[in-house]
Symmetry: C2
Subunit: 238 residues, 2 copies
DNA sequence: CTCTATTCTCGTACACCGTACGGAAATGAA
DNA sequence: TTCATTTCCGTACGGTGTACGAGAATAGAG
């Protein structure tokens, strides 16, 4: 871990993790499964947030001793990786591609957003580098297929997908924070009072005007769609 | 904290934090300062990453006892908030606005990216909701001024700025993760081998093709500029 | 069957974390 | 001087991730 952690580099060997060679037939038979442990961790994160996912809570949830988990994951970081891939199964595509790559890409982004809203811990979990697991790769495969008509080269296609994911994650993180803040009226009021006080100090005329002429409130869906459309319509294949 | 933490809502009262009424003249005189403590925490994060910022390390750095820090910040979460605002001082604008709001917005985004690359912990720190402190507000003021020619209403201008920040943070987080991963050649090679193995299984033809026809490698700067330009050029003032 | 190699289970323990508590020290006002 | 107020900080508590190693279970070898 010495130096890697500084920038959030993955500490997991993807070959070891995703290409395990089917366990040997010797020794005690496992009482649990990676699948069950991962599912329990996901349920916990969905219900109580990422910070509720502790090795002790997960172990309790599956009825195992804490240290037993370490037969299924080398560390907690890897469990997070397993969780991300686990929920990616929900990203399965049903609709076929339309051939209009812009429309197909927008569909991909909307799928991702709905997915992240369903699992609000995802944007945070994705913010550190992950090696894509099998279900994530299945979705990536679909996105690459959507990009086929662009004629972009491999690196460019991968880059577009990464950028799009980062954009969606950033947007959803902001969206979730916003809605969480407004769910506490007292906090929201305190913030409004604070901003009003700042605007009243005379040194922030632009802010003062923006607050005094707010316009009609924007719905998250509309905002997302507008920015997404602008981003994707602006893409070209040069 | 009961329920707020689930979605990462701010737990800090901005009025209390940013509009303190100048300390009373009674009691022992402070040996340290919020400024010094914040600066030490920032130095620590810059040098060793966010996870090196512990109350004990920060206290040691400024030569204080651990619990003394709590005379300057109610909790660690707030210290993070102070850190974010502290470094925002570097975002001071020198160039005047050109009047071309697209160009000015692009300058804003490039400033933000350089800023986040200088403080790689920023994207992660920004991913939870923050109430803007005074220096952050100064920068926001500038961004709003840049958006003035658009004629957008207040909420829309604020939304554009928030989206832009989220976009830059997402991009930089990805960029940093990427460069961190490639800084460890062994890890990068393991990942390449893993992806090659997946591509070779026949069920990922698009991935296989993308990897076999990579095209010329993309530099982070060029990629950022391209996506940014597309996003901003796509914005209009309808 | 016994023996042994292998694997999983998990209690205990350790270092580290954020921070509640409360006494000691320092200061300005009365 | 006395006292209210503020800062300083040692101690302690409940939490975290996980290293270690003893014990239990299983499958193959003899």
């Amino acid at each position: 871990m010495s130096d890697d952690a500084r920038s959030g580099a993955a500490g997991v060997d993807p070959e070891q993790l995703w290409l395990r060679p089917a366990k040997p037939r010797r020794g005690r038979r496992p009482s649990f499964s990676r699948e069950a442990i991962t599912a329990a961790a996901v349920a916990l994160a969905d219900a109580e947030g990422l910070e509720a996912v502790t090795m002790r809570r997960v172990a309790a949830e599956v009825g195992a001793g804490v240290m037993s988990l370490y037969s299924y994951t080398p560390d907690k970081e890897t469990l997070l990786e397993l969780m991300v891939d686990h929920v990616s199964a929900e990203l399965e595509i049903t609709d076929p591609l339309s051939g209009d790559w812009r429309a197909d890409l927008k569909t991909v982004a909307h799928l991702q957003r709905a997915h992240m809203l369903r699992h609000p811990w995802l944007p945070a979990a994705l913010s550190t580098r992950r090696v894509p697991g099998p279900r994530t790769l299945a979705f990536l495969e679909h996105a690459l297929a959507a990009l086929r008509p662009t004629g972009l080269d491999g690196a460019a296609k991968l880059e577009v997908f990464a950028q799009l994911t980062a954009f969606v994650a950033g947007h959803v993180a902001h969206e979730l924070a916003q809605s969480a803040a407004s769910r506490s009226p007292e906090r929201a009021a305190a913030e409004a009072r604070y901003l009003a006080a700042v605007a009243a100090d005379g040194r922030h005329p632009e802010l003062a005007e923006a607050l005094s002429a707010p316009g009609r409130p924007l719905t998250p869906d509309a905002t997302f769609t507008r920015f997404l459309n602008r981003l994707i319509d602006g893409l070209d294949t040069d």
